[in-house]
Symmetry: C2
Subunit: 456 residues, 2 copies
């Protein structure tokens, strides 16, 4: 237990929160999507929230935590789903949301403080014709530092791949957890030392990130009578290198029932595609839709962006959010299908599980190829059955990045990046950062079926 | 033989050329790259060159040719390599190079007259931060109408695929060959009725084409001691979805000997990669180069674009041009390897043919995947041996688009698109356009080994 009487005076001048309800709230993320994680993380709260307003204050907090050996868990907006920013051993919650300066934006590149919201960067970048290459469905609230520390990709990954792909992250500025904290700038491949390391090895204070051209984006819903046909349409559109898009999402019926505002556009029993396409490519869509026997039921031109419905907010993990708003017994998987134009495995699993595992595909680029990722909705019964479902998928060749664990190695990478461990030794010599999240660091063995989140 | 005494007065007010040397020159393209085509097309010249200055004049020429049943062969800058614009039956050469108006350029899209040079459109588009998505190595002189009628892709295809891919061509305005010519605007998938139809079915007067963002492009040469390693590096860079590039070219030694100005950067016996990368991605290159044991020997920043060496002009079919400048006994193939990350077939053919077939890879996107296309340099001995080489490649699974035929069906598509034939019936009822280039239209049988050009 942190001695707040010692700590608080040393933090003078920096915003702190000690009111228990607020601290409890800021100890949470959206791991509530997982009925497995909820009991495991219940009651895990920090002792105090600290909100530095600039890097100098971050350095001060880091120095104090190092000197007083206080655990520190860094959070952005807390939109993660793996308990990444839930403090397992109390201590300081370092909330980065006041680090909101957009340092500069130029054509193709931006540099921002870690607490900048993704939507805020987008807004600024669009003034000069650019935007973030990719963003999770939580982009309205999520911070860029949180996205780097705990995210992996999202809307835009159909064009640019995942955040961890070479070139999608240019620089990270990191404060070390030492009595005399250092500032380290990571560039080139070195950004991978901290990318998606869950705040285990240094406090990210600045992010330099490449931008993509801000096309005029239109939103479209296309419906199909048959799920596999819908999926094949998705693959075909995703493959169309001449059509610029940032979202190709396919939902198996009955998922759309969880989207009440979209009911007018999705006849019962049909399987929709949710698309975001550059308007210059839009004219080519009807020919492709016709080829697959689909029907365009909704279209919103780019000039109405920001008004009315926002399709992106029904995709990626927001799909799960909407489903759980209707039925809290629903949870989800994160997975990646192998590159196979026939989508045979998608079809097999669709038929095998029926409505127990409702397929939600997100097409993305992976290492130069277009593959369907999936965030299947699962009608949860027991942890055993959930693990059985996961094992069945894995046995068939689907890569599962289990979102029902808070252990980083059990995530998508299966092992913690040795470079990240080496970097941790340098920047966090006392092992204070986000303790309890790594098997290797805790010296614990394999926990069995836990298999983590879907990151590289 | 066209009766010029009848024709010339009717063309009054329109620029015409009848001086035999000039007409002969304007009856040629770069099929001289093929020792097979040269004798077959020798002596094929038009009777007159007509240079309309605007669409009204194009309509006038079309009406006259239709009324007087005069064959008409449309040409841009004549930078093709298949004899596409060589008139087999005399008649009128319609030279489009005076149709030079850039009608409009807006973010992501442009509309231009057919005779606009690719470089001119690029220059204009860059004023607002955009550029052509792809261009052949002849972009300084080639016209956009010629590119659509006879080209297929090039520098930029690593990002956007080929010109025939859905979305890379938005609209075509075509004048029919009738006594009362009509103007037809083709949009959506209908552009394929005329795209790459070699001017057989209508005179393209305007082209609407999507643009890509004009990144600050840097040029880089990387050398490798081993060809297969160089090729694997190329595949790996081409696969890197987060790194924006428009050229990934790999040359087997001894091809670089044909590039005298580049000798200082390519040690003898090494196998170079020629790259054009967006500067925000450049910082990620050294890590990848190191991984494959390569060496960066040349780098030109974007701010020096247009000065000094221009790597693009040594790639695609300019490679063949440079090789033939040194050794006229060299010819080439056009081909596409199957998607296979191991590049086993590339390695097999490299070892099998040795210096007789010098491998020149151009990585491109095809239907959502990154594959190596190739324009191998061939030390020509006889037509029989050339065909034997082609057959060997085909038997191994390499798709060969033989550039040693002037028959459209023998090209990459193997059959003429039935939609193009249907459209020809509508727009060219008298069969006057570029006669002699299609087996189907001439009612002739299979010519044996001829297998055409490399499109779609």
């Amino acid at each position: 237990m942190t001695n707040l009487d010692t700590l608080l005076p040393s933090l003078e001048g920096i915003e702190t929160i000690t009111e228990p309800n607020q601290v409890a709230k800021l100890s949470q993320d959206y791991h509530s999507f997982s009925p497995v994680l909820v009991p495991k993380l219940a009651g895990k709260v920090g002792d105090i929230v600290v909100r530095p307003a600039n890097e100098a204050e971050v350095i001060k907090v880091a120095a104090i935590c190092a000197a007083q050996r206080i655990p520190i868990t860094v959070r952005g907006a807390g939109t993660g789903n793996y308990g990444q920013c839930v403090p397992l051993h109390g201590g300081v919650i370092l909330d980065t949301t006041k680090l909101q300066e957009i340092l500069w934006v130029k054509p193709g590149v931006a540099r921002v403080e870690a607490g900048v919201k993704l939507a805020a960067l987008d807004k600024k970048a669009r003034e000069i014709g650019w935007e973030m290459r990719m963003a999770p469905s939580t982009y309205r609230t999520a911070t860029i530092g949180g996205f780097v520390a705990g995210g992996s990709g999202g809307i835009g990954s159909i064009q640019y791949g995942l955040l961890g792909d070479r070139g999608n992250l240019l620089g990270l500025r990191v404060v070390t957890l030492e009595e005399a904290p250092r500032i380290i700038e990571l560039r080139g491949d070195d950004v991978q030392k901290v990318n998606h390391a869950w705040g285990l090895n240094g406090i990210i204070t600045e992010v330099e990130i490449p931008l993509g051209p801000a096309y005029p984006w239109a939103e479209v819903i296309v419906t199909f009578d048959d799920f596999i046909t819908a999926a094949k349409f998705g693959q075909s559109l995703a493959n169309a290198d001449g059509m610029m898009k940032k979202l190709v999402t396919i939902f198996a019926s009955p998922i759309p029932q969880y989207f009440p505002p979209l009911q007018p556009y999705i006849p019962a029993g049909t399987h929709p595609a949710f698309l975001i396409l550059a308007e210059p490519s839009l004219e080519l869509l009807p020919g492709l839709v016709e080829q697959y026997g689909g029907k365009i039921t909704y279209q919103k031109p780019a000039k109405e962006a920001g008004k009315g419905l926002n399709l992106a907010e029904f995709t990626w993990n927001h799909t799960t959010l909407h489903a759980r708003n209707v039925d809290t017994a629903i949870t989800y998987l994160q997975s990646m299908f192998p590159a196979d134009q026939s989508l045979q495995l998608v079809a097999d699993l669709y038929h095998y599980f029926g409505d127990e595992v409702m397929i939600h595909l997100e097409f993305i680029r992976v290492n130069g190829a277009v593959v369907p990722a999936a965030l299947q909705l699962v009608r949860y019964s027991t942890e055993e059955r959930l693990n059985e479902i996961i094992r069945y998928h894995e046995a068939k060749g689907v890569f599962i990045a289990n979102p029902h664990t808070y252990i980083i190695e059990d995530g998508g990478r299966k092992v913690i990046d040795p470079e990240q461990l080496k970097f941790k030794e340098i920047v966090d010599p006392y092992g204070l950062m986000n303790p309890g999240k790594s098997k290797v660091l805790e010296g614990i063995g394999d926990r069995g079926q836990g298999t983590g989140d879907r990151q590289r």
